[in-house]
Structures are given as structure tokens and as C-alpha cells.
Subunit: 410 residues, 4 copies
């Protein structure tokens, strides 16, 4: 019996070429897996396509809800944004995909997993770290790094190679940009973006929405409710998280929200430049933060922001299945206990403009904040506070004055 390899399969030219290549080069039985995280591609006919290309089996797994609940929501609650700009759309998807690949490999008794990520990017790291953590005994094949046995250089070579192996299928034209898409976002790299001096050519690029200039002249109010940090309703209608994100994508795309142009630092040691569209995600994170402003105390919020940045790094670096990610997530979970309430905001040409927030657990105390003093706070108390709060500065200044006096006296 042949060894089995589980191949992360999209149906595109690259991963289709891998089917005959894996068979020819290593004599594997190839099991294709197409993991649907909401990338929106055509799944009809995929099975025939895979089998025609020589795969023994095709799994199509819709994991959108698992992706939303167990991967996206922890990041939203953590406020995880890499380098303060990137909402981790691709980073969050890799571990959930790897988890499914491992599950299928176990079920099938496969010895190997093969992915099509390149040798310069972050995705190879994310796939492989997840696999190592979940199934350290599985072998991993990353063809694009195997320059001795993978000699195919171009799209044309791939088509040629497929034809030679009896695969004559129609493929989409080469994408202009290098892209990754799922329910949360789409990323764009390459072309004019490769020189940071260039302005992005948004007209040719955007997929999930329009630029602020193209957005409607009239803004649109949105209301959301959250319970313990999780979105529950959108404009009054109860929905599950995946539905809320879908709906927010439509709203955000329409109003030019969540387009980010960034030079980011990859794990593999280089800067790269990309444009991300995260219309719904940007709104969801802003709405969540709007509610936290009201319901988290200062020190919890401050520590959470630091850990949220670190969470983003951990996820970006592919370290999802680690004790550190679990531990930070446990921290965050505790902070969300009272992140419950309603936020209102207006979407208008790239802006998310707050329009009011309420919560039964609001820590904002109107009588305290206003200028008339209630019984919780006496203006005299402020004097005592300042005396002690400023004591270290005063002691230091007195000491320095004394030293100076002494020095002058000498």
C-alpha cells in the first residue's frame, strides 16, 4: 500500500499541479482537502477536477463557523492587531486549516501533509508550526522550497507539466496581485505595491469594497449589541458571528471601510508591503473597542492592550497551538465578563464615527465626571491625592536643591 499525503488543495493551477508531482516524485497516494474559510471560490466541480488530476479523494470542509468562533473571536476580544495595522486575516486562517489537514491525515492514516506556500512568506511557518504542534510525527512537504526536486519555474511550466500528465483543465488567468482571501479579509501583494514609493492602484485591486471616494455620499447608522465580548445582534437582528461578519463585510465594503496599506515585518526577517481589505473586521473590532472603553477599568485595559499586541505577534508568527496563546486567551476571557451592551456608530466614506454607547456594566459615572460634586468625592480629597502622588517628585527636587546648595557652599 502506498503512503498517503494530504494536500491542501484550492483547485487552482498551483495546487492542481502538485497532484501529479507528488505521485511522480514520491509515489504518494494523494488526498486533496479544500478547506472553506469563506474564501468565496467556486466549489462546484472541484471533486471531478481533483480526481481527474489524479487525487484518490477530495475532502471539502466548511469550517467557517469554527473559524469565526474559535479563531477570529479570540483575536477580536484580544484586540489583536499586528504592528497596530494588520488584522491578521491570513494568520488566523492558517492554524485552523492545518488543524483540519491533521484531522484528515489521522483519519486517512496519511504520513505526510503537503502545502503550497512559498519559501519567502509567513504562511509556510504558520502551516508547519501548527502541524508540528498537533502531529509532530507527520512529515511535511513544501514543494516550493525543494529546489532540487521541484524544478517548475512559471505558470507556463505548470500548465505544460499538467498537460504532460494528462490534465487538461481550464485555469483562471494569473491573478494580477498575489492574494489571500477568507471570510475576514483579502490581502494583496505584488505589482506596483512592490515599490513603497508607489501609490496603490486601488481601482484595479479592491475586491471586497470600494474606496472612500467611491462610497455613497450619505452615511449609514449601525447598531450592534455584544454579550461578554461576543457580537449578538446587528441592527436589532440576532445572528451568529459568521453572519454578523458577512453582513458587516457588505456594509463596510460599501462605505470604503478597512482598507490598509502597510509595510510590515515578516517573521522571515524582511519587510513586505501589502494592502489589506478587512471591511467587516475593522468595524467589528472598532465596535468592540467602543464598548470596552465604557466597561473596562484603566489598568485592565492597559495590560490587555499590551497582551493584545503580543497575542497578535504570537498569531502572526504561527504559534497558535502554544501554551502562551492559550494563557493570553485565558487572560482576555476574564476581561470580557462585563463587555456587554450596545454600540451605535455611523459609517461614512472610510470613517467609523461613534454615535453613542450604553452598557448595564458601564464604569462611567456621570455624577463623578461632571463638575458638580456628589458624595463620592470631595474636592479636598484631590489635594491629598496630589500631595502623595507628587511626593516622589518633591522629595527628589528637594534633595537635588540640597546637593546644589552644598556644592555651592564648598
Amino acid at each position: 500500500m502506498k503512503e498517503k499525503v494530504v494536500l491542501a488543495y484550492s483547485g487552482g493551477l498551483d495546487t492542481t499541479t502538485l497532484i501529479p508531482w507528488l505521485k511522480e516524485t514520491f509515489d504518494y497516494e494523494v488526498i486533496c482537502c479544500c478547506i472553506d474559510c469563506g474564501q468565496g471560490n467556486e466549489l462546484d466541480g472541484l471533486e471531478e477536477r481533483a480526481k481527474l488530476s489524479g487525487a484518490s479523494k477530495l475532502y471539502i470542509e466548511n469550517i467557517i463557523d469554527e473559524f469565526c468562533d474559535d479563531f477570529i473571536m479570540p483575536c477580536v476580544k484580544a484586540g489583536a492587531v499586528y504592528e497596530h495595522k494588520y488584522l491578521l486575516g491570513t494568520s488566523m486562517a492558517r492554524p485552523v486549516i492545518a488543524k483540519k489537514l491533521v484531522e484528515i491525515a489521522r483519519k486517512e492514516g496519511a504520513t505526510t501533509i503537503c502545502h503550497g506556500a512559498t519559501g519567502k512568506g509567513n504562511d509556510q511557518i504558520r502551516f508547519e508550526l501548527a502541524i508540528k504542534a498537533l502531529a509532530p510525527d507527520l512529515k511535511i512537504i513544501a514543494p516550493w522550497r525543494m529546489t532540487d526536486v521541484w524544478t517548475i519555474q512559471s505558470r507556463e511550466d505548470e500548465i505544460e507539466y499538467c498537460k504532460k500528465h494528462g490534465i487538461d483543465l481550464p485555469f483562471d488567468h494569473s491573478h494580477s496581485y498575489s492574494r489571500d482571501r477568507n471570510l475576514w479579509h483579502i490581502s494583496h501583494e505584488g505589482l506596483e505595491l512592490e515599490d513603497p514609493a508607489n501609490e496603490p492602484n486601488f481601482e484595479n485591486m479592491l475586491v471586497l469594497g470600494v474606496t472612500p471616494e467611491q462610497a455613497p455620499e450619505k452615511g449609514e447608522y449601525v447598531t450592534m449589541t455584544f454579550e461578554q465580548g461576543v457580537p449578538k445582534t446587528l441592527n436589532g437582528k440576532a445572528m451568529k458571528v459568521s453572519e454578523i461578519i458577512t453582513e458587516l463585510n457588505a456594509l463596510g465594503g460599501k462605505h470604503g471601510i478597512g482598507i490598509v496599506d502597510i509595510v510590515e515585518n515578516r517573521v522571515v526577517g524582511m519587510k513586505s508591503r501589502g494592502v489589506y481589505e478587512t471591511p467587516g473586521g475593522t468595524i467589528l473590532m472598532a465596535a468592540h473597542e467602543q464598548l470596552e472603553e465604557l466597561t473596562l477599568d484603566r489598568e485592565t485595559m492597559e495590560t490587555k492592550k499590551k497582551l493584545g499586541s503580543q497575542f497578535a505577534q504570537v498569531v502572526y508568527e504561527g504559534k497558535w497551538f502554544t501554551p502562551l496563546r492559550e494563557a493570553i486567551q485565558a487572560f482576555v476571557e476574564v476581561t470580557q465578563k462585563y463587555v456587554t451592551g450596545e454600540v451605535k456608530f455611523k459609517l461614512y466614506k472610510g470613517n467609523i464615527i461613534k454615535a453613542g454607547t450604553t452598557s448595564p456594566y458601564s464604569l462611567y459615572n456621570e455624577s463623578l465626571a461632571s463638575f458638580t460634586t456628589g458624595d463620592m468625592y470631595d474636592h479636598n480629597d484631590a489635594s491629598g491625592f496630589i500631595t502623595l502622588f507628587g511626593l516622589p517628585l518633591k522629595v527628589r527636587a528637594m534633595m537635588l536643591a540640597e546637593v546644589e546648595k552644598k556644592n555651592l557652599g564648598e
Copy 2:
């Protein structure tokens, strides 16, 4: 000879009332100081007004350039934003004002400084900590906290009190919002903002610009150059920092940039809600960050972001004149050595949209970032990297598998 008090004087009703009150209550000779940080108020006639009210002297000090160079720029370089939203407009101004008050107190041989900040806000802390640090021997009078001797309750009381002391001056009508303004920003508190459930009434509120809705239909490109983190030219014209901020205020105000609605955590332990307009500052900080993306390495940027948040806290809490502020500033200064280059962006209805960045010190390496591999990086190297980078995860997974096996065997 009478003891002298230096009074932070604005010419408004509140601080004018303090002149007779300080004389009557403590028998001080009152020296008024109006410190101009760019608040844009009318300074003509201020001297007569102060003297008529009983002051023995009025100092008018224009410190806009010192404010920009020594207080604003360190915050810009540090990327200092309090709670990720507030650009510290008021926080940065208090220490420079206090410094001037102390200088005048020393020159005049005054024993006391009096300020008009209330007992519920942060400003009392910022003024007093700065004074303690610079002149620990000076007494401080904060009338609004002295509920035993300061019995005036309302604007009407103040006018009455002035009249009784022979001061019959025209005063502006009570501001609708409680505001603080300088070259960097204007803040708004009170009225409908006191309930976070309310949407701000921007039409009545905004002073430095318009809302995104009211901004022009056509965006506007802006080019800036920086040297070692300091802005040097705007649209090709060399200017000093204060001029650049002034110009950016005009541009930002026009395009609806930099309006922030925030529930923030005060030092004195409560949440408060305010709206800030920081049109030029928002652009300046974004442009500076755009250049840093290209010129700072990952780890320096990451550590700088953490210290920048802490810098913001230190400044917010009034601890400008402390070793910690100096030490963080020294850290930041080193990071700015190569933050030199040109940034281009477009302003459009509340958005600052990047339109290209260049620097002689760019760490972005196009040949590395693109998919064709140069001689600095072999795809095989990535395999070695991942093996070591993922080693801890793999060792752990193997250990857990072994433990499980043992447990099953038992």
C-alpha cells in the same frame, strides 16, 4: 513688603476673579502671566484688563516654538498617544506653562503660584507636579479646591464678586462646552457629551475644522519630508515645526481630519468623555509613522511602541519633569537617527490615505520582498529556519505524545 503670587492668567472671567480674591483672602501682590501656547485668544488689551483688576504686573509670554520643539516633538517622535486615542494636547501644554510660571516666580521673588484648574480634572495634577519638580519650595494655591475660603459657586457669583471689587469688564458668554485650546488641539467636554449614550453635536462644537461630511468632495495630496524624525518641509516648502503644525491644522481642519470622541480614564480615578480636534497633529503623527514603517526594524519598532504608550501615560499623568520621561526620550531619540525621508498622502473626508514613501535609509529591500530570489536568501534556508523556530513546539508535542502513550500503557 507683600508676598507675591504668580497667577496663571487667561483674561477670562475665572482667572480675572482670582485677582481680587487672592488680594483679599491672602493679601498677596498678584502678578499675572498669560502663557501663549497658540490658544488663539485675544491678547490685545489684556494688560489694561489685568491691571484694572488689581494685578501689579502682567507677563505675556509667547512660547509656541518652545512648546513645539521641546514638548510636542518628543511626543510625536515617541508616537505618544494616550489610550491609543488621545494625542495629549492639554497634557503636553501644562508642563511648559508651569515651567514659565516658575521662571517668572523666581525672577519676581514670588513665594506662590496660583492656577485655576478644578478639583476633578487632570490639569491640577499636571500643574502641581511640574511645580513640585521644578521648585519644591513654592506654595501652590488651587482656589477651586479650597472650599472653605473659595465660596464662589457660579459664573453669576464671579461677575458679582468682580463688580463688588470695582471690576466692571465685558466677559464672553459662558462657553457652551468646557474647552482647552492650544496650537496642537482643542478639547471639548460637557453638555450632551456627559452621557456616553449621546452622539456628539459636532455642528455646535467644532472649532478647528469641519466634519468629514462637510469636507470637500475632492481629496488633496500632501508631501512632507522629515530629518531624524523632525518634519522639515511641507509640500516642498521648508518651515519650522510651529509653522508646519499651523499649516497642517488648516489642511486637516478643512478635510475633517483628527476628530476623536473618547471615553478616557483620568488620573483621578474616573472615566470622562470628551471630543478632541487635533487636525494637524493627527496628520503629523500619521506621516511620521508612515516613514518609520520603512526605516525602523521590527524589534526597535515594537519596543518603541510599548515605550511610546508608556511615554503617553507619563505625560498624561503630569510627570514630565521626571527621570523616566527623560530616559524614555533618550531611547526614542536614538531610534530617530535614520527616520529621514519623504512621505506622500492624500487627505479626503477624515481619511489620511498613504500615497507613497521613500527614504535613503529604507530597510525595505525589493529584491528580498519579491518572489524571485536574490543571493541573500535561499529558499532552503527557510527550511532550516522553520526547523529551529518550530523546535520548541515539536519537542513539546513529542513529549506530550509520549506521556499519553505511557498513560495508555498503564
Copy 3:
């Protein structure tokens, strides 16, 4: 019916004096509570003493196990050490005491809690913040801060006042040092310690053990086991945590372990100097850390150390009953999942010398660590790792060389 006050009562002169004073000054019914955290004082006869002094009731609550399990152990697991030196003995005890006082106040329907902490220390803050968090409606009386109604100045005054109110009891002589003791530690302040230039007079001071000089000439091996971060056996004998600490106190005291002389920074803004004896606690924390070295991965350990320092601050500042403390504790709890194993060490004249560690969950892999290479790691992989790990430095150096070349060319 009179209002009731719950008084934190030790049986000593200070708190005994408070009984008649509370009745006389405020007409309270006084309910005394003696909370036993292992301070080792005489509880016999306490009830008669309290009643004789005018209390209506005395509660004696032994909370040693709750103190150990719910307050000490979270700190041990977190590695919480304030300013890298102080093991928080007093800080951890205050919130558990306050919790009991509140419980009794609720049970008795009291309106007020009275504690005897001074106006210069941290304890007033810890008691009062805990009470505010647990029972914001309760009034708090801190007599030593009430300089208008509390006019007693000295020990002699107190004895006098007691006699005048019919209380004629024998009191211990004034302690030479100001001390606080519980199962975890004893602190010493005052006398020669008030000048940091002085060497501590350990001979007169130490209570729980001896100096290293006085310790036995022969060291002593100790073995402990932990499960999920919690100590389970000591020298092979299973015991509950409070018993283990008791036993470790004896061992540590005998061998001169855990004596710390520190100038620390109080919450109230001043430096103070104290000596702490924490014989058992020092050993317990060292043993726990010895096991973590083997069972935690690098990044988890590193983040945990940072959060552990912050946990120490939170506890030191009296903020036990806060979301931040709960959230950090949740983080720590996750990290402890595999902190299971055995540690061996030798106690000798102030030293805790490691003598071997084992764990089924050890992340130490002997085949990896030794110089002969197994199949998990190829020396070639290191080359790839270094190429990528050092890429940012190399790109930067090349860029700087290029700029220099250009500048020379000009």
C-alpha cells in the same frame, strides 16, 4: 439600636484602646474580629479581654488554609515578587482579612469597619481598597488618620486612656521593631533600620530563624513534588499547603534562608526600609521556579515573568479584588498545567542549592542538548536559521554601506 462597627482586633494595646474609643466617640456597638493568618500570637483569653474592654462580641477566625490556597498559592504560581525582593507577606494577608471583616459585617448588619493601620503605610490602602471593592456601602474608620478626634499620641497615652475607661490589662512591652507576622513571613521596620546606612542588627531582630552565620555547619537535602504548580509532598510526605509552608519555615529558619534587607517604594510615594524573614516562602518559590525551568517554554516563561512582576505590584497596591488580578491569575493558571514533577535541593547557610529536577513533562531533550546530533536537528539547519534570523541586520548594514558610498561619491 446602636450602629455596629466591626473592629480588626489583635488583642494588643493599639486595637484594645480602639474599643472604648469607638464607643465613646461614635457611640458604636463594637464587634471585635481576630483573623488568624498564622501570626502565632496567643489566642487564649482573647475573648475575655475583648469583652472586658467593652466589645459586645469577639470573632476568632482561623483562615490559614484559605490564606494559603487562595492568596499565597496564586502568588507563588505567578512568581510574584515586589521589586524583585519582597515576597508580599503582608500584602497578601490584607485582602483575605478584609474579606473576613466584610463577611462578619454583613452577618452582623454592621455599617462600619475599623482598622488600626497608620496613615503612612501601605496597609490602610490594602484594607480599604478591599473593603470598597467588596462592600462599597460600608463606612471605614481609620483612627490614626483622624487627627481631629484621635488625640492619643503615645503608648503611654493609650494605657492611660484604657485605664480611664476601666480597662486594666497587662500588655506586652512595646515591640522594639514595628512588625507584621503571618504564616508566610514576618516584617521588621524601625529602629536602626530607619537609616539605610546602618547594618541591620539581626541578632535582636530575627524571629523565624537565624542568620547564615548561626546556621548549622552541615547542609540538608530536601525533596518536594508539585502537581500543576501546587506543592504536594515534602521529603516524601504528602501534606496540605499550609503544612508544607509550616515545615519549610522550620527548615528555612534553621538554615538562615530568606532574610531580605530592602529599601522599597511604598504606594504612598516614599521609600521605606525593612527586613523581611520569609524562610519557607523563599524555599517554596525557589523550588517552584526550579521546576518551571524544566517545564515552561521560553516565551511563556518570559511573558509570565513580566506578568508576575505586575501581579506583585497589583497585590502590593492592595488591588486584589480587581478584574486585572483575576485576569493575570487566569493567565498563570494555564501555564501551570504541566508544572508537575520533583525538585531536590540543599539548604546550607542561606543558600538554596539545586540538586536535580525531574518531570514527566520536561521540555529538556537530552539528545537535542548534547553535541551529538539526533534526527530532529541537522547542523545545516542552523545555517538557514542564522541567515534568516540575521537578515534584518544584514539588510540594514548593506543599506548603510550604500548610503555611505553615495555620500563619498558626491
Copy 4:
């Protein structure tokens, strides 16, 4: 003309073998460099030895003072300790050695640097990152990683290889432990240490001193002075830093100070176990910290501790020549301005026992710290302080009580 390679040369068997190997394998002209950081080995006769082995030249560079002033002291001032235990003895030496190698390579016009570090350790990373940062154009040869051309497997092979190439020299016997030594420390790895379950065999191992058990029965007082964080005198005698460390090494070694047994996390992803002797360094860092307790304010100290840990990581990871190291060092430098004064302590059997500290810049204020109140602090002020400091807890507790009441009412 042949290409030149600069070889990091110790005179031992390993690096001597590299001379003929480099010539034979790559046809290099070999220039040997022996960099003296205080490793205490025999330098007499080294030149003949190198030349006899085929080197064209030998440089012997004594860089002890540069090592002390520019590498050790920044770490001491920063309080840089890796994983709270390791004083970075080897980590600090690698970049200064690499710097010298690069200088000599430039002077000689060499194209390549060769070092003898293995493929499993941290040192390869430290050497190579330093070389990349200082001279990105230089080639690096790390023979032990070149498994295709480096086929020598054992000490016997090396001797054989040397003999075959006409080198017949006496070599020390194989060290029992794998060691690295310089002025600051000596490290020990291998043998019984490879199993963390084993107690170290200190008797066979220690080089710089004795165990606490073997140390004298009588302690010894030491006095040191510092100026701006730099040690200036030892027991009253002015010395330069390298002399002070030398003298402290003798004192510390005698009294059993600074022996650390640690399982640490290497950069290359594995745990390793080692014993470090850092007798003088341990004392120097403790003395420096003792002075900082008195002269640094709370917040500066706290931030410095975090950055000091990060500094340790940066140095441990070989990233000395980076902007981040420079920036943290600038932070630290500012904090040292007033770290001036005298510290006294007693060395006794592994213990460093504080015996008094003084500084003209002491922030300890005796009148504040003692129980009688001076004019800087009114006990009433503490009430105001606590009211505001505890306000967030109280507001929160009131809000929760209200919610609960409402829920009960429903």
C-alpha cells in the same frame, strides 16, 4: 594572490586543526587572531604554534578594558540578566571578539572570517550576527556546520589530521566539561550536567572559586563606591573597572559567590543545562543594585527592570550591534546620572549581605519614612489619596451592586 581568511584562534586543538583545513579545503591564506578577554590561557609560544601550524600571521589582541568598559558595564548598568539567572558572560564577549575580527579582516583585506563555534549553540549566532552587522560583505565559515566538507568527528581525528599535515604539537587533554571563560565568568556544560536530574559535581568543576561549604568560616566586609553607575573604588582604593572585576573575582571566588546551576532556553530552540561561575560579576551587579534601590524612583526602576530583561535577551541573542541595543542603552545611561554613592556588604559562604548604603542623591527621606510626621505629609492627605486611588474599585462595586439589585427586582 590568495584570498585571506581571519580565523578566531585559541591555540587549542580545535582551532589549530582549522589552519591546515582552511588551507587545504579552500586554498586560503590563514591569519590567526587570539582575542584576549581575560580567559587566562597561556599566550606565550602561541605565535610559534600558529605559524608552525601554517598560519601566515598571528594577532594577539588584549581587549580586556574595552570589554569591561563598553560591553560589561552597559550590561551591569542595565541590570541585564538572562532569564533572571545568567549574567551573560559568554554573550557579551562574542560581539567584542567579532568586532576585533572584523577590524583585522579590514586591515588585512581578508574576504572571510572563520569561527569554531558548533551548530547547536548560541555562539555561532552571536559571532555571525555581529559580523553581518559590521561587515555584511564578508563571508563566514563555520566548519562544524559544513558537514559535507568537514568530516572530522572526534578529538582523535583532529590529532590525526594535524599530524598528517605536519603539526605535531602537545595539546591539553580534553576538557572534562565544555567551557567558556573570560574575565567575567566561566561556563560549564556537558558530563553529568546533561541530565537535569543530576546534582552538579562541583568539586571537579569549579575553576574560579569554591563552593559555599568550602568557603571560610568568617565573612568579609567589602566597601565599594560608584559614580553614575560605574564602580570607582573597592575597599577605599581607586581602580579601573577591569581591576575591580579582577579583585571581586578573587573575593567572590573565595567566599563561594556567584555559582549558578540553570536550565536555560537557547536561541536555537532547545533547553540546555549549564553551571556558571561569575564571582566578581555577581557581586558587582548586587552592589550596583543596592545603590539603585536608594537612588532610583519607583517608576524609573520598574521600567528599567523590564528593559534590563529585554537588554539581556537582545545580548543573549547576539543582537549587540543593533539600534534596539543602542536605544535601550541610551535609556539606561540617563537613569545612571545619580547612581553615585557607597555600598557596604558582607561576603559569607555564598551570601552577599547588605551592610549599609549611602548616597548624596538618596531618595530615601528618613523624616517621611518614620512614623512621626513632618510637614511634607499630613495623615489626612492619605485619606484623600485613598479616596481617589480606590475610586475605580468603588464605582465598579456600586455598579455591580446596582445591576444585581435590578436583576433581583425583575
